[in-house]
Subunit: 205 residues, 2 copies
DNA sequence: TCATAATCTTTACAGTGTCAAGATATTTTT
DNA sequence: AAAAATATCTTGACACTGTAAAGATTATGA
């Protein structure tokens, strides 16, 4: 051991450190000012070090997206677990969906701008869907519709339409320059309620 | 006139040339690979020339966004003019909204990622809204609801909810990795119909 | 132990946005 | 029309970016 100070070797941690520190940067400043060199510096490592763990910037971003999507999925699953299989479970799930992005405004454009995530809206068994939140939404939706007298032919469309609404609301709420005079957080419930009740009409009970 | 070849001076046209050529680049390659130097080169002009007309890259992008938003508004207005004030006008408007982005897939993230456009969802008279498409949607929505027995207190919410749906659908349809087994273009009408009919129930006639 | 592989650093290069200084063309003033 | 002022465009420079290549360091395993 010479006197020469040596940078910690970071052994097997750098990969995860890059992902976690990268997500922090997204949270703080958003996607636009995000750079490989910044994350590297934030991890106390030289600017080319990330290339030992990720093929390029896109691949690190993909890993970060997967990480966030995973956290998001857990939130949604906890929400479902929390409200049992009440008929208005979709309302709570939708609200949780929107609130998640309200609480992390930078996540929306981070996840869906130039995303590698595959979203398969076909309801076939072999659908290759890497965006779990939609799978969660779909599963709950189908389960509820199964117990309803909603016309079977339109159920897929209904679920996609409802998710479009929720996803669009999340998009609007997290846009930087969209203003609203009332508190969004209070309103979300109203929107969800109005939407679900009228969309599904008396078909759920 | 010396023999020396001289670059055309581009008199007052460069500003518009940059905007139009810039939009073409967005259409061809999207926002991610867009660069000031490329547009300049495409206009046959040196890399710093744009700074005579735009403060910086953001300002050029804003001008391009305004241009596209204007085109978009015209499409929507023509749609409304084409279907009179039939009760299902909202259906056609919504369809036109989604189709516009389907026809120009790069426009969605271009317009709404790091956008300078102000969207004011309050319905107050002095709302400062620079996104005309929403104003068009709002106006038609209010006009139709006025002739209905839809509860007055919920009309603002209804319009925002419906627009969230349309906007969300446009978002989904233009995402690179969202797949669907049927032809979106055929389905849009179904979605709009299902949504409008059930959302407004028997309140429109 | 020694060779091999994994990890990190350094150096290098092309592309980017932006600024400052200069050249050229146009417009305005005299 | 000549001169002065202004608008437009070019050139050169700088810092920052992603990425590649080559070398150094550390870990692994035979």
């Amino acid at each position: 051991m010479s006197k020469k100070k040596r940078q910690a070797y970071h052994h097997k941690d750098l990969k995860h450190a890059l992902i976690e520190r990268g997500i922090e940067l997204i949270n703080e400043e958003g996607l636009k000012t995000f750079s490989l060199r910044k994350v590297a510096a934030a991890c106390g490592v030289s600017h080319a070090a990330p290339y030992s763990h990720f093929q390029n910037k896109e691949h690190l971003l993909s890993a970060m997206q997967d990480y966030v999507t995973n956290e998001f999925s857990k939130v949604l699953e906890n929400t479902i677990a929390g409200c049992g299989n009440k008929p208005n479970a979709l309302e709570y799930l939708g609200k949780a969906y929107v609130i998640f992005f309200m609480d992390n405004p930078h996540y929306f454009s981070f996840l869906f701008t130039q995303s590698h995530v595959q979203i398969d809206l076909s309801f076939s068994a072999d659908s290759h869907n890497t965006y779990k939140p939609f799978e969660i939404y779909k599963e709950l939706g189908l389960a509820l519709l199964d117990k309803s007298n909603y016309p079977e032919a339109g159920r897929k469309d209904a679920i996609i339409a409802m998710w479009s609404f929720v996803h669009g609301l999340a998009s609007l709420v997290t846009m930087k320059n969209v203003h609203y005079d009332e508190d969004w957080r209070d309103k979300i419930t109203d929107f969800m309620k109005a939407f679900q009740c009228t969309f599904l009409g008396g078909n759920l009970n």
